[in-house]
Structures are given as C-alpha cells and as structure tokens.
Symmetry: D2
Subunit: 336 residues, 4 copies
C-alpha cells in the first residue's frame, strides 16, 4: 500500500484525490496540504477518509510514512517543491508543466541524478483510451512507418486575459499537451518547429501578448511530419482528435460524446457534441495516470512519463514561441 | 448516510458493492452476507472497508442500523428474502427478475402494501447513458408521437445448456431487460406479444427446451409497435442498440466501444468491436441505478423502477413463452 | 445493339428512357408509347433522340425491329400487355408488381412457358450499391449462416388517400420491395408471415381500409427470421436500411445522403438527411437493372429478377394482408 | 445548343466527352482532335455520336459552327492552344494547370482582355458534392468567421519517377488542386506559404528532385490559417477530406465509399475503403463543371473558375517550391 501526500488542493489536486480513493486499490492518501485550505475543501477531502489536512506541505515532506507526493500547486512552485520532495526521499508526481523555464527543469533533473526516486509528469492524455489506441496501433506496426501526424486540440472556451498574462502563453499552457502527444504517438523526438498563428478568438488575448489560433508544423526525428492545430474556442466544445498516417495505413480518433444517440428529423441527423469540459473528457485518463504512477512506485518500475518528457515538451513550446517571434522555422537544437 | 447490507456476494453483488464504495457518496456497506462465503470473496469485500462479512443474511435483516438491503441472491430466493426484508422494515433493491412466477411477485407486492418501504428492481439498463438519451428525447417530444420502437439485444456468448435449463428460458432471463426497455423508452405498457423464434446458435439450447434467436413484436398501449430481436451469440460481441421512430423523427443509439479509433488500411476502414462483456458495457449504469436507489431511500422519494415494473416485464416474458408454444399473438390480459 | 420500346411514359418510363440513353451502351430506344402522350412528354422523349413517339403501344409490339419491351404502364395493364408482348416474341421488362392478382401473374408465367423470352421484374433495389454489398457479403459467407434479417423501409411522405384506395394496399404497393429484398438478401424463400400494423400517420389511410405503419415478421425457408418495419412517413426523409446478422457476424447499411458534410456547432454534430426522394436514392439502381436486362437479352442469359420473383413477392403481400385481417401468422402455403 | 470541340482525347478528354454526351443536355460535341488519334479512340468517340474525329485541332478552331473548345492536351500546350482558341473567338475550358510558368498564364490573360470570351479552368473539385457542401455552409455563415482550414489530399499510388520528372513537381501537379480548394472554401486569397516536406514514399521521387509528403501552411488574406497535408501514397486509397473551423462551428467532410455497408465480426467493425481512383471519386464533379461551363457560355454568364483562379493556384505552387528550397515562409507577393 503506497501512502500518498497531495500538495495543492485545487481542481487538479482534488481530481487526483478522487482517482486514488475510488480507483487505485494499492494507494491511500494520508495527507493533503494547501496554503489556502478552507472549510469546504477540508470537508471534501475528509469525506474520502483522509487523515491529515494541513496548510503546510512540509508536514508531508517530513512524514516518514509518506512514500509519494503529488505536486499540484501553482506552476511556479512545481520545480522547487519537487526538488524539496526529492531531497526528502519522496517519489514525485509533478503536474505539467514542470516549469516554464528550462533551467529550472534542469535543476529538477539534477536533483534526481543518482537517486532511486520515481518522477512522473502529469501528461494525462497519454492515458486516454483514444490516444492509447493510436499509440498501440503505431507501436504494433499496423500503419507501417509513420509519415504524417495530425493533432487537433481546441478548447471550448478561452481563458481570461488575466489568466493568459500568467500562463506562459498558449504554447506552454495548452499546446504543451499536444507537443507531448506528438512525441508519444510515434515515439520520436521533435527536431524543428514552425508556427503560423493569429489572434482570431479574442483581441484581449492579443493585447496580453499571446495568440489564440495556431497551425504548428513539427519535423520529427524519425522523419515524420506533424501538424497541430489549436484554437482557444470551439463553439461545439472540446475538440481533441488525432490521426497518424503511415506507409501501411492510418489510425484516427474522433471525439467522445456523452452518448451515441443520434436524432434524425427534418433538420438533419444530429449527434451529441463532444464532451465539453476537460475533466469529463479526460477523467478516466487522470485515474489511469495515477494508477500507473502508484504501480511504478510499488513495483520499482519506470514511470511512463519522465522528467525528460517534461523537459522536451517545454523546449518545443519555447521553440514555438521563438518561431512566432522570428517568423521562421526553429530547430530544437537552438533551445537549451 | 444510508447503511446498506448486501445479500449475495456473487458477480452482481460484488458489482453493487464496488458501485456504492466508489461512486455513491451517501451510502456505506456495513454487511455482506453469502451462504457460500469463502476467503477470497471475504478478502475482496474487506478491501472496501466493509465491517461485517457473514454467511447468514439474517444478520443483516436483524441489524437495526441497516436501512437498506440489496437482494443479489439466486433468482428463486429474490421474492422470499424480499418479503422477509420488507417485514424487517428494510428498503429493498431486488435484482431482476423478482421471480419467474407471477404469483410470487404478487406476494411481494402484497408485503409492500401500506408500508413506507422503498422497493427497486435491478433493471440497470434504464440508467445507461445511451438509453437515457433516447428516453429523454422521447419524453421531450423531440420525435413526436412514438410509432415504432426497435430494440436489438444480442449476447456475445450463449450460456451453457445447464444454465439454460434453470434460467426460466431466454424470455425471462435475457429478453426481460428488453421488455422493460420497451416500456421505459416510450413510457407505455404492452398489450400484445407475438414471437417468432428459432434455435440457430446451439442445438443443446433447443434440447433444453429453449430458443436462442427471436423476433418479438409488441403492441404498446399507446398504439406504438415495438420489435425486439435477440440472439444468444453475436460473433462481434455484445450488441445493445435501440431506436424510437415517431411522427417528428427518430432517435437511435449505436454500441459503445473501448475507443473511437479507426484503422484505415488496404483491408478497409475498421473500428473497434462493441464492448464485449455486460459488465464493461453497463458498469456505469449499475453505479447510477445504485445512486438512484440510495437517493430514493435518503430523500424518501419514489424509486425509478418499482415492483410493478418488475411484474410487468415478467408478465410479458410469460406471454412471449405462450406465444411460442401456441404460435399466435398473446394478449397481456391473458396473463395473470 | 438491343432495340427497345417503352410502353408507358410516366415517371418510371422516363427514368428507364434516361437510363438506357445515358448509361446503357448496348441498347437504343426506338419507340415510346403512351395513351396520354402530350407535347411536353414528346419533347422530353425526342430530346434523347428517340425516333418514334406514339399513343398506341401496338406499334411497338408489331415492330419487328424491336427486341425488347419495357412495360411501364399502369399496374392493372402489366400482366395483359406482358402477355401480348410475349406473344409478339418480345423480351419483357415488367414494372413491379406484375399484378395484384396472383392468378394473372400465373397467366404471364404460362405465356412464358417453352418460350425463349427474357422476362425481368422491376425490383430495382436489388441493384442498389448498398443492398448489393449486403448480398455479396452474405453470398461470400462473410457473416456465416444468416439468422436475422432486418429491413427498414419508410417513405418520406404518405400517398394521398385516393392513391391508397387503388394501390392494392401498403403491402402490395410499398412493402412488396421489402418482401423481395428479404428473399434477395439471403437467397431464400418465405414460409410464414405475421404482421402487427397500425394507422398512425394519417387517419384517411385507415378510412381507405389500409394501414400506414407495420412490423412484419417473416420466417424464411432457410430457418432465418426476418423483420421489416414500415412507415408511410419519416420526418427526416426516405429511410432505406438493411442488416443481416449471422453466425459469423453482421453486415448492415446506412442511408445515403447528398454529401458527407457534418456541421459541428453549439446545437450538436449534424449530418445531412437521407436522400429524400426515391428517384434520387435509387437512380443508380434503375440504371443498373436496365443494363442487366439488356445484357441478359443480348447475351441470352438469365435475367437477375424473374417472374417467380415477381410472383413470390405478391404472394407474401397477400399473406401479409391476410395476417392483418385474421390477426394470426399466415403460412405462405395458404396462398395460391 | 452549344457546339463543342475537344482538343486532346486522353483520359480527361474522354471524361469530358462522356460528361457532355450523358449529362449536359444543352451541348453537343461536334469534333474531337488528337494528334495521336488511333482506331480504338476513334471508335470510342464515335460511339457517342460525334461527327468529326481528327488529328488536327485547327479543324476545331477554324470551324465557325463550334462555340466552345475544351483544351485537354498536354500541359505545355494548354496556354498556346488557349491563346489560339481565344483568337479564333472560341470560349475556352482549359484543363489545370493553365501552365507551370506564370508568364505564360499572363499571356492567356492578356489574350482574354477586352474579349467576350468565357474562360474556365478545370478545377473540378469545386464541383464535388462534399466540397460544395462545405463552401455553402461557409458562405451562409453557418460556421461564422473562418479561422482554420484543413485539407487532406493523399493519392492512392505515386506516379512513376518518369512522370514526376515532367510533372512540374508535386505542388504544381497534385497540390495545385488543394491550393485552389483553400481559396474556394473560404473565398479568400493566400498571402503566405510555408512547407515542411519529405521523401517518405519512394526514394526515386526524391532522386527526381521532388518530394512525396508535405505539410503546407497557408496564411489567408481574410486572416484564416490553412493547412494542407499531402502524400503520394495512402495504403487505403484516395483520401480527400476537408474541414473549415470558424467562430461559430466547424464543417467537415469524410471520404466517399462505394457503399455504406459495414461488416461487424470478430475482427472489428469494418466499412469500405474510400473510392480508390480519382475518376470514381470525382466523376460527378467532372460532369458538373462541364454543365456549369456550358451554362456560362449559353447564358453569357461568368464562369465559376476563371483565369485568375488558374493563375493564383500556380503562384501558390511556385511559392511552395520556393519555401522548400529556401526553408522559410514565402509571401505570395514575392511571386510574379
């Protein structure tokens, strides 16, 4: 039985709490820490039978009974808390992105060196049933050599301009999942990035120095070409699709909906919209990533998403930004 | 917090145990009873934090702390145990069918008379996301007046001839869900039943006096016509679809699959098979029916599937059998 | 080059005229006859380069240059004109139904006896790309032994009560295509018919002594069960689907639409309605049946739909009517 | 009745011949010319009732009875023959591309200046039912302002290296259709082109100086971003899809198949592959473009695809080539 402490009881911290309590049979959550802990949150946490609720995450790091820590705090604290946790000998599950700053990710990597610490980054989409099915087909050679990867990733609603200002920009906040997905789907690194982008959804996003619409072309190390298209707002909800085309065929996924029901009437033949909210769409993937992390801890196995994966996605994001600024393709080797 | 006792720790008893522990926040399972309780089962039950595990279900009935009982024992004991539980003042969730014998169901109805006892029958498919979507569309008038109801229900594998011999026959064992579905989808009773059936899957089923393939036509009280098609074996897995056609349109559902992935290659364009096993296909519906039962108990509200629903489905099943025997349409009014 | 005369220049006669002129390279239409020939129709016919346009179909029967005749006149004249044409040594393509009266069809059969005359009945749906794909899969054994056949056939608009009065009833007018389809899809005859029907679309149809909604169960000679569902009015257009389920799998078709375009917006994910009108939906099948008829004539081969097919579909229709009248399953052997 | 002469009796010339003879009621083909005319081709042409068959296209240009000319000869002769035809006062339908050389297209434009000559370029895909449905939805504002355009265009088989050497390269030979499609779907010009490409299908294509796989990003004048993905070989056949995403929704098309039949068995749920060959896939569009050209001639209306459309697609193709050579985004304004 793996004993877990959760640092950060915001939306994603709560998701992981639920996942462990409801789905993961070989772990329990002993302590949840959050500096802004309030009564409502505490009540929610306690309803899952969690013993300790605190404002100070050091209670977790100092608790010798706790094996593993979930870092679900604000992005700027991911790296320093991870480093503290590693120093305390805890296995770490760190939410994405590890940091916006490549240097800080490298410090985490350094902290991990020579340690028998498990470190997993929260790229939950790798554990989604649809994307897993693509990955499996590619891995089994069912599409032959991959030639073209296409990822569509569109949010149902843009974030507030306020959020945008502190988000690190669309590429590090939103597209980062897609960068990781490109690497995951074909098991290859990215060599070059070109971005064509625009502000078409909300001028306030542009005023905050960001973009809201983009076509991103990646050249992969294995020779495949990848294209990601992003929008901060899809009127029909959360659009999350992918396709890998190769020498022997193509594997593609569609969106998930709440039901398969289709209404045929004088207006047309109408199915349900995609699941609207990322928590609906990806709930099962959050549970599965947690189960995989706990298994890696318990069985002393490799985590399925490691710190290098965390680093590479950020490097691609930084290259994407540079491509926008300099209006040219940017080699990943230009980014340290 | 509703305290629950589970009588019967077979496959379906375990499903309800998991549902309550993982999804239903306003209930706990205090005791599980099964005459064949063994170590493995006890270990499984205890891993959910259940206090009492016993071979004698009277421990549950005699426990004044327990509010509600789930009757998950063998079919022939559903009615007598339900009656005992009602006498003990427990709310009852009874697995389907309440009994093969209409007389015994009427005894349960009598036991309920004048009591403030909640009674729910385990027609879980009413809580399935796809069938709920049809029901909602029909109820909201989106297809106008219902004219034609079509239900496809095909199992992935036939039961053993042994099982068949004690199952009450395909209509009471398998089609009973579809009879309830017909009533549920359009909110109307059945008036007449005609069956055309055959033994096409396994001669042993015929030798056991049952059929394995059937087309069943129902005339509904609201004037709609319904057709159910059944097979005990679909090579591609569990086939569970429905369609309601009305004056303003049609609402139809497809099967659920594990993912939306589609492989295009030289052989064709291939998607995944339907979810194969009823527990995969209907897991979410089992959780939801349990949540609804607990809510009905806690809020003193009507249960969504009551003893009359349990009775009617069996009456239709008995009429179906009679239609096969007498090779003619049978009015439901002929069946008491 | 097969020389063709067309008797009857109504809607279906014009369809065949176009098919032969535009698609069938080994035939020409020499003469078109219609007692109600008017200027507009004549102009239309001449625009295809047809030499002779007449009111008297005997000009066709007496023309030694004409090899084959298309009987596209009113239903009550199909049999007598066919018999005249056979006597004149012409090959005959006869629109469906050959007659409502089984006796008259038998007279046609008698006229054909011992003659080297090709006779084809206009069950065009056998030549539809979708239904051909089902038939091919069944024939190739890709679904194993057929167990269940399902045919959905719903019209976009009900006929006028006037039309209904002279139509021979829904089973001989509309379902007759589906009866033929059942036989075609699995290559087997029908043994028993049971109908559950209703008047749900238009009371005037009921007043004219007909039904507008039906579920028809057929028992096939090969042991398979078949169900046809009919409605005289589908709000979303012409609904023409079929499914054959067997020991090794299922083959099913969906409706055709004008395009594959799907609109996703805040209201849902909406595709186009099925092609609305039977001429849109089945145009290609009309062309193909004509090409097959001409080929059979030219190559002295069997026609793909013969007079027995014409007879059997009518017998099933008559049995269906009897089933409604007598509220019981009717064996086909009861119908001569 | 428009009298037509066809110059070039290769594959595409024959397609147009058939289209006019079978579908276009207000035109006839009087003469077909081809320098390589042989008996077989002549027989084919004469079977459509064409009067004159010749090796010398001047017979067409000098025939005062002929109103319109279809230029279906080899690409290098499109421009000069068009210019001759214009000088002879003939309306011109010119196959794509007008020329690989922008200068020559400008000479055609000059020849047209001040003349009442109709000139249409053979971008047949604009007349495809699926792409027309997208265009209509965009035009009617059903997806709001267009933000992202996605075009997938993959051939079933690569051309021979020999063909590649004289094709003008993939962008002018194959992608040119997609460039026109991008402009057509949203009714906007292209401002900038960036290409990421590779040789993944056949090294011989690379040795011939061309690419066989590409991701092409376009910036449109209306602010939308477009991405085209191309491959010279899709194992599952001809892949022709498009999607336009906008402020209010998305409209997308799938491939056409020969039937809607889907086989469900132990291996999965398998539909048919896309129509394999461009003539199958686009036959209806070829007929429609011809009908539109003839209508424009007959009614003295604008042609739906004019010489500017022909010019722009080539300019984008030239920019695409430059982008590959110079590994940078290329503004269309750089290309004259």
């Amino acid at each position: 039985m793996v004993k877990v402490g959760i640092i950060g009881a915001g939306r994603i911290g709560k998701v992981h709490l639920q996942s462990i309590c409801n789905y993961v049979r070989n772990a329990t959550v002993k302590t949840v820490a959050d500096p802004y802990m309030n009564e409502e949150t505490e009540g929610f946490i306690r309803s899952f039978g969690v013993e300790n609720v605190t404002k100070d995450y050091h209670e977790i790091l100092n608790d010798p009974e706790i094996d593993a820590v979930l870092v679900c705090s604000s992005t700027d604290t991911h790296a320093p808390i991870s480093i503290e946790a590693i120093a305390a000998g805890k296995h770490v599950f760190c939410e994405k992105p590890v940091d916006h700053d490549i240097e800080k990710i490298k410090q985490v990597m350094k902290a991990l060196e020579g340690k028998k610490i498990k470190f997993q980054v929260g790229f939950n989409r790798r554990f989604d049933h649809n994307f897993e099915a693509i990955r499996a087909a590619v891995k089994e050679g069912r599409i032959g050599q991959p030639h073209i990867i296409k990822i569509t990733s569109r949010d149902p609603e843009p974030p507030s301009a306020d959020y945008v200002a502190h988000s690190g920009g669309m590429f590090l906040d939103m597209t980062i999942h897609d960068f990781d997905m490109a690497r995951y789907l074909v098991g290859s690194d990215v060599e070059e990035v070109y971005v064509q982008s625009a502000v078409l959804v909300d001028p306030a996003i542009g005023e905050a120095g960001d973009v809201d619409t983009a076509i991103i072309t990646l050249k992969m190390a294995n020779g495949a070409l990848c294209v990601i298209d992003n929008s901060r707002r899809a009127a029909y909800g959360y659009d999350q699709r992918a396709e890998v085309f190769g020498s022997e065929g193509m594997i593609a996924t569609a969106n998930d909906a709440n039901s398969t029901a289709v209404l045929s009437n004088a207006q047309g033949v109408t199915g349900e919209k995609p699941l609207y909210f990322f928590l609906e769409r990806y709930m099962q993937s959050f549970a599965k990533e947690m189960a995989c992390f706990i298994d890696a801890v318990e069985q002393d196995a490799e985590t399925p998403v490691d710190v290098i994966d965390g680093l590479q996605a950020v490097r691609i994001g930084v290259a994407a930004k540079k491509s926008v600024d300099e209006k040219r393709p940017v080699a990943l080797s230009e980014i340290d």
